[in-house]
Symmetry: D2
Subunit: 392 residues, 4 copies
C-alpha cells in the first residue's frame, strides 16, 4: 500500500498554491508514487487567508499559528511558503521536531541563519528541499546530462540572466519584497538566487564574486492590501511613499573553483522581460543556451559535428529526455510552472521515502546564502570577495 | 458550501491523466470554484489499467464496464477519454441518462454520429465540452479578444499548421490511431481538428474546403503493447507489418463564410516539429502570429502604430490577459499543457453549475465533424466541397 | 588578360541599382572574375532618369531609346530592368541581335510571350538569366546541397510564403504593379514567382496547381510621381482613385511531378511581414526551414541524429558553405540583398564566358510563366489545373 | 560636377575588399554622392598580393611601399587596412601629409599611439574615420534615434556581447591576431572594441571598468600561409605550435559617466556563435534588444504601451528608418556587411567634402584605446580602474 505523508503548509499565498497543485498532481505523473501527500493543515497569520487557503488548496485544517503544525506529531513535512524573514525560526523548530522541510527560496535572510539551519538538518537527520524549481525544468535537466557526459567538454565561461519588469514602474507598490527586514535582499535573493542555483548546479561551486548592486527606485507607494501582487497593481502616484531598502539591480562576475568565469544579471525593472531566465555556457566541445520564456526547448551546439552542418540544435524536450516517461507523451505538449513544481515535489518525496539525497537541499540553499553574502560584501568593497564554502 | 460534482471517467490513459490533474487543480486556480469535482469512478476495459488508473489518478472506484458509470445516478459528469470509435455509444447513453459530457476529440468517427450526439444534448439539455484544449491557451484567448475588439480589423486570410514527428519513422508502431475503424481518420481527426477548432473560433464558420490527404507510410509494425505510445517506441523492422488505413498528411484550403481564405496543414511526419500548432492571421488593421511550442507568447502587429515603430509585438501573457488573475502572478512563469486543461475544466464546470454556454461544445464538435466530412470528400473528388452548417 | 563585357541596361530604377552594384562588386568577390563588366549605356524613356542613372550607376552613356542599345554591336549583355510588359519586345530584339539577356522577373506577361522568348534563345544560342535572386542566398544554396545529397531523403511536402505589407494600406498609391496591362499579374508575378522558383529549384517540377486569387483593395489613389515607391508613400485619401486590375492575394496548392505536395501563399498586405520569404520542406529523413528575413541562417533537422539530441540545427552560412570562399571570411558578417545579386551576376557572367548552363534561365522563367498561367486558370475554374511542361 | 577623391589603400586583404566594394557602391546608394572615389593605388608589402589587389579591387596602380602613397600629392584619402601594429606609423605620416585617414580598428596597439594620432589630426585638421562599422547597421542607428528622443527614458543598465567561434578549435592556426606584437591585444581589440564602440555611442562615455581576461588556448600551430584565414583552416595537430600571447576571452563591467552600469563579453571560442554582436539596454521607459546575426531587426519595448498589449516590438528596418531612402525600397530586402560599409563610407566622404563631423573618428578610436588600457590594467589589478577621458 502506498505510504502517505502529512503536510503542514505555512503560508497561504501564491507559493502555497504552486506547492498544493504539485502535491495532488505528482502521483498522477509518477506512478507508483513514493507516497501520497495528505494536505493536513494550512497556516496563515491572517485568519481570513488561512480559512480561504484551506478551501482553495483543499487542506483538512487551518490555523493562524505555525507552531500548531510544527508540534503536531502527525505532520511529516513542514512546507514553508512565508516571507523570507520567517524561514529561519519555523525551519529550526520544524527540524528540531524531526520534520522534513520544504522551504521556499531564499532559504534565510542571512548566511548565519542558513548555516544554523543546515547544521540542524545534519543533527536531526531530516530531508530538505529549497524551492529553486527552475533547475527542474526538463530542458535544464537535459543540459545537466549533456554537461555531465562531457558533451560540451570543459566549461570555459557562462552568462546567466534573470530579468523581469514587474517593479519597473515607480508606482508599483512597496511589497514586502522591497523591505530589507522581511526579505533580506531585493532582486538578488528574490530572483538572482535562482540563476546562482542553476549555475552552481551546471557549472560548479563558486570561488569568488565581484558584484554591483543598485536601488534605482528609491521609494514606492505603500500598498493598501496585504497580499503580494508583485507590482501588477500600479498605484496612484499621490499615495504616500516609503523607502525601498533593498537592491533592485544586481550584476556580478563569478570565478568558479573549476576555473570557469561568468556573469549573472538580475533585475525586475527590465521593461519587456517577464521571466527571462537564461543561461549560455561555452565549453571546449560545445555550447548550451536556454531561455525559460521558451522552456520546452534547449539549444546545444556540438563542436564535433561536421563544420558544414554544425549549429545550435533546438532540442524540444519530451519522452526522450529527463523525466520524459513521467510528463507528457509528446514533446511540447507543454512544460509550465506546474510541471517544474511536480518534479521538485517528486524528488523531495522520493528523497524522504527512499532515503535518497535531495537537491537543492539545505546545504545548497546555505551555500547560496554564502554566495549572496559575498556578493553583498563585494558590492560594498568594490572588490573580488571569496565565497566561503561549507564542507558537506 | 461549495457544490460537488461526481465524475465518472471512461478510459485510463494519457488523457485521463490530463483531465484528472485538471479536476484536482482547477479549484486552486479558480477561487471560489463553481464546484469541487469528486473523482468517483474510473473505467477501463482492461482491468489492470482500470485498477492502476484508480490508484494513479485517485478515483474512489474502478470498473471495466462503462455502463456502470453511465447508469450510476450519483454521477454528474461522464468524461470520455477512450478511442474515437467508442465516443458515440458512451456519449449517447450518458446524455440519455442526463449526464453532462466531457468528450475527448474528435467527437466521433462520422458526422452522422456527431449530429445525433449533438441533437441528443438539445433534447436532454445537458452541458458538453469537446476537449479542443489548445484554444484555451491564454495567448489564443488574447488573440480572440483582439479580434473581437476589431484590433486587427476584418480578417482577410490565415494559415494554420499542426506538425508533429512521432510517426515519421516507418517503424513507429501501428497504434490504434492508424486504424480507421477505431480512429475514423488519421492526422486529420487526431490533430488537424485542433487547428480547425482554433480557426473556427478566431476567424469564423467554414463555408467550403478543398483538401489533399495522403498516406505516406502505408504499413507499420504491429505493436505488442496495448497502451498508445504515440510512436515513441520504435520497433524492430523485422516485426510483422499491417496496413495503415488512415491519412498521415492532410492539407486543405478553406473559404470562410465571412470571406476569409486560408489553409491548414497537418502531419505527424514532419521531422523536428513536435507540437507545432501555429496560426497567422492577417486583417485589414493588423496581424497575429502564434506558435504553441512557445506558448506564453503571442505576436501582434497593429497597423495604426507609427510606421517607424511598427512591428510584431511579442506579448507575453500574464496577469493583464485572459484568466490572468487565476493563473500565475508573473507572466512566463509558465503555461503548460496542465494550464490549458485547467481552464477548459473551469469553463465546463462553470457552464454546468451556472448554466453558462460552454465552448467548444457538442455543437462545435459536430460542426468540426461536418468540416472533416467535407475535407475527406474533397480529397476524393479533388474539388471544392461545401461544409454543411447546422443550425444551433 | 581579363575579358570585358559591355552591358546595356534598360531601365534606371531600383533594379538598375541592384544590378549595377553587382556588376562592379562581383569581381572583388570572385577572383579572378570570368570577366569584368563595363557599364556602357543605360536607357530610360524618361530622359531625366536616364541622365541621372548614368551618373548614379556610373555608366558611360545614356539614352531614352532601348533600340540604341540592342542594335549597338559593342553591347554583349542586355539587362532588362523595366516593367514586365516591356520585357518581351526588348528581349526578343536583344536575342535576335545575339545579345545575352539578363531579365528581371517575371520574365513576361504571358506564357505565350515567354515561350517565344525561350525558343528564341535556343535559336540564337544566347545565355540568359531571370533575376530570381533569392535562390542565390547561400542558405538556400545550402538547402539545395543537402537535398541533392539526399540528406533529408525523399521530399514529402512543403510550404512556401512570400509576405510583405507595403500595399496593405488602401491609400498606398496605384503603382504600375497594380495595373494588369503593365504587370500582367499582381502579387503572383511580383513576389509569388520567387517562391515558385525556389520550390521548383529545391523540390522539383510542378505538375498540377489549385489556386485562389483575390483583390482585397479594389481601387487605389493615383500616384503623382512616376517612380515606383512600392507603397511607402501613403496618399491622402482624398486623391482620385482608379481600379486595381490585378490580384493582391494568391494562395495555391501544388502537386509536383515527384509526388511532393505543398502550398504557396503570397500577399503584399500582411501587416508586419516585410520580406517574409519562407519555406519548410519535410522529407523522409529530415526537414529544412528557411526565413529570408533572417537569411544568414538555415534550420535543418536530420532524422538520423540520436533521438535525445535531435532537433533543428541553426546553421549560419559562411566559409564552409556554398560560395563561402568568395563572400565574407566569418559567418554572419552579413548576407544582404547585394550579396544575392553578386552571386547571380557571377553565375550569369561565368555562364557566358565559360559556356556554362545558367539557372534560372529563360527555360526556368518560361516554366514559371506556365505555372502562373495554370494558377490563374485554376483560380477561375476553381479546379486543379495541369501545368504545361516544356521540353528543354 | 561631382567632386572626385583619390584613395590610396594600404593592405590588400579582406578589409581592402570590404572598403573597395563600399567605394564603388556608395554613389549608387547616395545620390548625388558628395564625391566619387577614385581607387588610385593599393599597397601590400607582399608584391603578389599588391598586384592581385590591384586587379581584384580595380585600382589604377599598386605598390609594395606605403610611403609611395602617403607622399603622393594626388592622394586625398589614406585607407589603412593592415594589421594593428602598422596603423600608427602609417597614419602619422598620412596625417602629416594632410591626408584624410580611414583606419581599420582597433586604431592602434596602445593608447599612447592613439593619443598621438588623435592629437595630430587636430593639428593637421584632417578628417578621420575608424572602421567600427557595426554601429552603422540601420537597426543600431534606429536604436540611437530612439534613445536620443528619450523613447526609452534614462538608461539604467545594459549588456553587450561579441561572440564568435573561429578560434575555438585549438588547432586553428596562429594568425597574427594571436601575436601581441602585431595585434596589441587579442579578442578585446579584435572584436570587443566593436561593442565598446556601440555602447559608448548608445549609452555614453565610460567612467570605470572592471575586467577579466584569459587565454584559454595557450599555443597554436604555426600557419604556413600568410593571409589570415581567421581559423577556418584547421591545422593538423602535429604541426609545430607557438605561444598565443594575447587574450582569447574578455569580460568586463562598466560604469558609465551617466550612471548606467553594464557588462561586455567577448570571445572567439564560443561554439555556435558566429558573429553574435548583441546588446540589450534597459531604460526607465523602455528596453532595446539587438542581435547582429539577425540584423534587419531591432526589438524595442515601450513602457507607455497599454499593459495588455505591451511587449518587445520587432521592427524591421527599411525606408521609414535611418538611411531608409538610400538603401533598399522594401524592409528586409537585406542589410549585409556591404551595406554597413557603404553607410560608413558615405559618412566619411560626406564629412570630408562638406566638412561635417565624422563618427567614430580618431577621438572615438582613441577613447576606445584608453578604455582598452583600463580594461587590461583592471584585468591585472583585479580592481575597478578609471578610464582616462580626453577632452575633445
Amino acid at each position: 500500500m502506498t505510504k502517505q505523508l502529512n503536510v503542514g503548509m505555512i503560508g497561504a499565498g501564491f507559493m502555497a498554491k504552486a506547492h498544493s497543485v504539485a502535491y495532488v498532481s505528482m502521483p498522477m505523473f509518477f506512478y507508483p508514487a513514493p507516497a501520497k501527500i495528505n494536505k493536513k493543515i494550512i497556516v496563515d497569520s491572517n485568519e481570513l487567508l488561512a480559512k480561504e487557503g484551506k478551501e482553495k488548496f483543499d487542506f483538512e485544517l487551518w490555523s493562524t499559528d505555525w507552531r500548531d503544525v510544527v508540534n503536531d506529531s502527525d505532520i511529516d513535512i513542514v512546507d514553508i511558503c512565508v516571507p523570507n524573514n520567517l524561514h529561519y525560526e519555523i525551519a529550526m523548530e520544524a527540524i528540531k521536531a524531526k520534520k522534513h522541510v520544504f522551504c521556499e527560496k531564499p532559504m534565510a535572510i542571512s548566511s548565519a541563519e542558513a548555516i544554523e539551519m543546515y547544521e540542524a538538518t545534519k543533527q536531526y537527520n531530516v530531508k530538505t528541499m529549497v524551492a529553486y524549481n527552475y533547475r527542474k525544468t526538463p530542458a535544464v535537466l537535459l543540459a545537466k546530462k549533456f554537461i555531465e557526459a562531457g558533451d560540451i567538454g570543459e566549461i570555459l565561461d557562462f552568462r546567466g540572466t534573470y530579468l523581469q519588469d514587474w517593479s519597473a514602474d515607480p508606482n508599483a507598490p512597496l511589497s514586502w519584497r522591497f523591505d530589507k527586514k522581511i526579505s533580506g535582499t531585493g532582486v538578488l535573493g528574490d530572483i538572482g538566487t535562482h540563476v546562482v542555483d542553476i549555475i552552481r548546479y551546471l557549472v560548479g561551486e563558486f570561488d569568488e564574486v565581484n558584484a554591483h548592486m543598485e536601488t534605482y527606485i528609491k521609494e514606492r507607494p505603500i500598498q493598501e492590501f496585504s497580499a503580494d501582487k508583485l507590482g501588477m497593481h500600479i498605484m496612484d502616484s499621490s499615495v504616500e511613499k516609503r523607502p525601498v531598502t533593498v537592491d533592485d539591480y544586481c550584476n556580478f562576475s563569478i570565478k568558479c573553483k573549476n576555473g570557469a568565469f561568468g556573469t549573472i544579471e538580475a533585475t525586475r525593472n527590465a521593461w519587456g522581460r517577464k521571466n527571462y531566465i537564461t543561461f549560455e555556457i561555452h565549453g571546449t566541445k560545445g555550447s548550451i543556451y536556454f531561455d525559460y520564456e521558451n522552456r520546452d526547448k534547449i539549444q546545444v551546439c556540438f563542436a564535433n559535428d561536421p563544420a558544414d552542418r554544425r549549429g545550435f540544435r533546438t532540442i524540444i524536450t519530451g519522452p526522450d529526455h529527463p523525466y520524459g516517461s513521467n510528463l507528457w507523451p509528446i514533446p511540447a505538449l507543454g512544460i509550465g510552472y506546474t510541471e517544474t513544481k511536480i518534479i521538485e515535489c517528486y524528488e523531495f518525496i522520493n528523497g524522504i521515502v527512499n532515503d535518497k539525497p535531495t537537491s537543492p537541499n539545505f546545504f545548497d540553499g546555505c551555500q547560496i546564502e554564502l554566495i549572496c553574502e559575498a556578493i553583498i560584501k563585494s558590492s560594498q568593497t568594490s572588490q573580488w570577495e571569496k565565497v566561503q564554502v561549507l564542507s558537506q
